[in-house]
């Protein structure tokens, strides 16, 4: 029985809803489910012989290889070598990158002089320079750390100076109008204002660093995840290869989580 409207009209119908879709619904439980599901299908495929163990070893085989690494104590040796190179190279590269990026952003002479140099060197794959680095810094840790350092340096420089360029001019003018010193304006207005861009640059520089780490370790290293993967590949020990790749993925995830924490800590003012 349709109800009567105020105009005595019985042709009443609700306005159709058209605002649905196009917005993000957080589904936190889904991603672990996808991971577990994929691995389960993979395992099942291997067990039934649907996936050949030569083409792709079962996850359980890869996990056994991983346990083997723990038992022989080699895990720690590989991991320590890789993490040391990564942490030292990335930290130095990032610190230098932020310094040079700030200098380029703040001083016109440096911008005019250095920005084109940075632009010219940024796209060069740093791994191509590894032989040069070996000549300069030796076959040991120096050349590997240098490769990662340079890989992290350039994206950080660019993220930093474009971050500074995007700091609200109004805030800088405010600082000047209150007679703040140059150093205070840089430290209290420009650096925090550029922080979102710098942290976004971290994500890029970290993934570049991991790629370079593995590449450098594959070219010349006794220990390290890259070396482990290379040896495994040379022996066609595919389950070891998968275990090594999975370790890289976990390292990447862990670092990404750390950066997320840093963003929460330093950028909580964004809400």
């Amino acid at each position: 029985m349709p109800s009567k409207g105020p105009l005595g009209d019985d042709d009443l119908r609700p306005v159709p809803f058209r605002g649905g879709g196009f917005h993000h619904v957080p589904l936190a439980y889904l991603s672990p489910l996808v991971f577990v599901g994929l691995i389960a299908i993979w395992e099942l495929g291997s067990r039934t012989g649907w996936i050949s163990s030569i083409a792709l070893p079962a996850p359980s085989a890869a996990f056994a290889a991983f346990l083997d690494l723990i038992e022989t104590g080699m895990l720690w040796q590989h991991l320590r070598a890789s993490l040391l190179r990564l942490v030292v190279g990335w930290t130095l590269g990032t610190a230098l990158g932020i310094g040079v990026g700030l200098a380029i952003a703040l001083f016109s002479v440096l911008r005019a002089g250095l920005a084109p140099v940075v632009a010219a060197l940024f796209p060069v794959p740093k791994i191509a320079l590894l032989p040069l680095f070996i000549v300069w810094f030796g076959i040991g840790e120096g050349s590997k750390v240098a490769t990662i350092l340079f890989g992290a340096f350039f994206p950080t420089v660019i993220a930093t100076y474009s971050g500074v360029d995007n700091v609200d001019r109004g805030l800088i003018r405010m600082g000047q109008s209150f007679g703040l010193s140059w150093a205070s304006i840089v430290r209290k207005i420009i650096v925090p204002g550029a922080m979102p861009a710098i942290l976004a640059g971290f994500r890029i520089s970290v993934s570049i660093s991991i790629v370079l780490l593995v590449a450098a370790e594959m070219i010349g290293a006794r220990f390290g995840i890259g070396a482990y993967i290379l040896t495994a590949g040379a022996l066609f020990a595919v389950e070891q290869l998968i275990a090594g790749v999975a370790m890289l993925s976990v390292i990447g995830l862990a670092i990404s989580w750390l950066i997320g924490r840093a963003e929460k800590r330093f950028l909580d003012w964004r809400g």
């Binding site: 805030l171 405010m174 600082g175 109008s177 209150f178 703040l180 010193s181 925090p192 003012w269 964004r270």
Partner: protein
């Protein structure tokens, strides 16, 4: 302290922005500057406070700034210019940190200005948690903290909705009655100009020239939103500006 603007002209490249502007801001006086959009009001204010150098003419100060003034010419910006990563307290603290004040005294100044702008309970809030009106009150508190001789206010109420604007206008009036600050108050809102201005400088469209200098003799404390003389004056000012605004509007349309 008196602020004297003497024959200031300014151009950006080939565009003449301001032409021979002269006026003074006396002690405890609010001078409102009105004019059509694009007439160079904000440029004028930047020149007055030394954020830009005038092409010709000079901006001069006479007499000593008030006792212990840390920043004689202090701006209040239209977009508030608060650091989003600092709390209310931290934003006020920012402008004191470069001065050699003992920490206890700095805290006392911060508490005092937040009390005077009724923000004491929002000390720890971040700007994003505040409404527009409250943000501007933080900016006013920050300006008061450095004991300015002249406040340079660049459309301080223009980013606010009309109800908040009315409330903050009352706040400003009350503040003036208590503190008798001097101010150069740039606005395009004629109602604000006639409520707050002891004198009103009317600028023409670009290049900005002084069209009229109006003095309002009604004391600030006796002015209300419905005072008939002010309504009358506002009407007269609108007549004066109407043609300029219309012409300025067309010019802008042509320029695009």
């Amino acid at each position: 302290m008196e602020l004297i603007v003497q024959g200031v002209s300014h151009r950006y490249g080939p565009t003449e922005v301001l032409d021979d502007i002269s006026f003074t801001v006396g002690d405890g006086e609010i001078v409102a500057i009105i004019g059509p959009s694009g007439c160079g009001k904000s440029t004028l204010l930047r020149l007055v406070g030394g954020l830009e150098r005038p092409g010709e003419g000079a901006v001069l100060m006479r007499g000593a700034p008030p006792d212990r003034s840390l920043n004689p010419l202090t701006y209040v910006f239209q977009d508030f210019a608060l650091l989003p990563w600092r709390t209310v307290e931290g934003n006020v603290s920012l402008v004191l940190e470069d001065h050699a004040l003992p920490a206890a005294e700095r805290r006392a100044v911060i508490d005092d200005v937040l009390e005077r702008t009724r923000l004491a309970e929002f000390k720890k809030a971040l700007p994003r948690q505040l409404s527009g009106g409250m943000k501007q009150r933080v900016a006013i508190a920050r300006a008061l903290a450095v004991r300015p001789a002249v406040m340079l206010m660049d459309e301080p109420l223009s980013a606010l909705d009309s109800q908040t604007r009315e409330l903050l206008l009352d706040d400003l009036l009350e503040l003036w009655l208590r503190e008798r600050f001097s101010a150069c108050y740039v606005t395009h809102n004629l109602a604000e100009a006639v409520r707050l201005g002891h004198r009103i400088v009317v600028l023409s469209r670009r290049p900005g020239r002084i069209r009229e200098l109006v003095r309002i003799d009604i004391p600030l404390g006796e002015r209300g939103p419905t005072t008939p003389e002010l309504a009358q004056l506002q009407q007269e000012l609108w007549q004066l500006l109407r043609d300029e605004a219309l012409a300025a509007d067309r010019e802008l349309a042509d320029a695009v």
